[in-house]
Symmetry: C2
Subunit: 202 residues, 2 copies
Amino acid sequence: MSSGILLVLSAPSGGGKTTILKRVMADLPGLVFSVSHTTRKPRPGEEDGRDYYFVSRREFESIRDRQPSGFLEWAEVHGNLYGTSRAAVEQRLGAGRDVVLDIDVQGAAQIRKSADPVAVFIAPPSLAELEARLRGRGTEDEQTIALRLENAKQELRVVDSYDYLIVNDRLAEAVESLRSIIIAERCRRRRAVDGAPVRVDF
Amino acid sequence: MSSGILLVLSAPSGGGKTTILKRVMADLPGLVFSVSHTTRKPRPGEEDGRDYYFVSRREFESIRDRQPSGFLEWAEVHGNLYGTSRAAVEQRLGAGRDVVLDIDVQGAAQIRKSADPVAVFIAPPSLAELEARLRGRGTEDEQTIALRLENAKQELRVVDSYDYLIVNDRLAEAVESLRSIIIAERCRRRRAVDGAPVRVDF
């Protein structure tokens, strides 16, 4: 329906997501950040509509409880509610902007239920290092290997549900990877859009 | 099975494919051109194994008629046979190289039957221009519009079966698009490869 791309970006701590995203957005036109709704009070310097849409708990719940929900995803953190408004995202996508959501793995899973995002997982290099070690011969005791393996499994299970994996080994490369994913997805999208008219019978 | 990407590149005449591809290959490591088999005689300066694998018609037919065929695709042009060897491609992919096939739409369709390539269509800007014109109000006579529409339909029907469309409007952008598609596909591939071990039970 819409012409923009909904980009979902997740990373475990230390993934370097914020730095990468800032650089890509400074460089590539047409990208906008999604602005979340929250019930938390604005901090000094924060602006309504720029940093967050600051709403009351009652307003938040009324948006959340629509059918379908007015939020693509929502969560409660430390007693405050946070959510991504479906209407706000769709309006930006409809205007041809590519919308970026910086969101955790639970939020990404929620979004996939009612939208079709391009999902990118940014992993810290230790993931790849661990992978290589696990693939090689074990020089650590059984228990340590098992634990590391279990952690890797948890992380990698999530990666599997994403479309792209960027291993943030070197920052410049990670930036180029994210930039490339967006440009490539635009070429995918363009194919679909340009191809659409042929499905109409004249 | 293999770790490289099989990149299929098609373009109607005037698409600028050769120039774009040369620039991307000069810039991005890890890409190799597929070398075709042919029954045509070598021209002065052509080298066996670099420009083509020069084979006899009998050799060609023996590779072609294996089950499954030893060629991912083949065609007869002006009395000479040309084909893309499955073994040669798989060997390069297995060595982690990304293999580029510069091939027409019929060849691309053949390849899709037994391989899973990343298919990119490069269109000359006139396609996009025509699109825009067809979408706008018609100022040309009925017959001309119908003919143009028909041609566009033919071209676009093909685009639809490709994964990506690059409209070669400005060369630098087209080069960046192809480069980005390859980098993005490597991030897709990496996700699958890094994700693989978790499916194994320890």
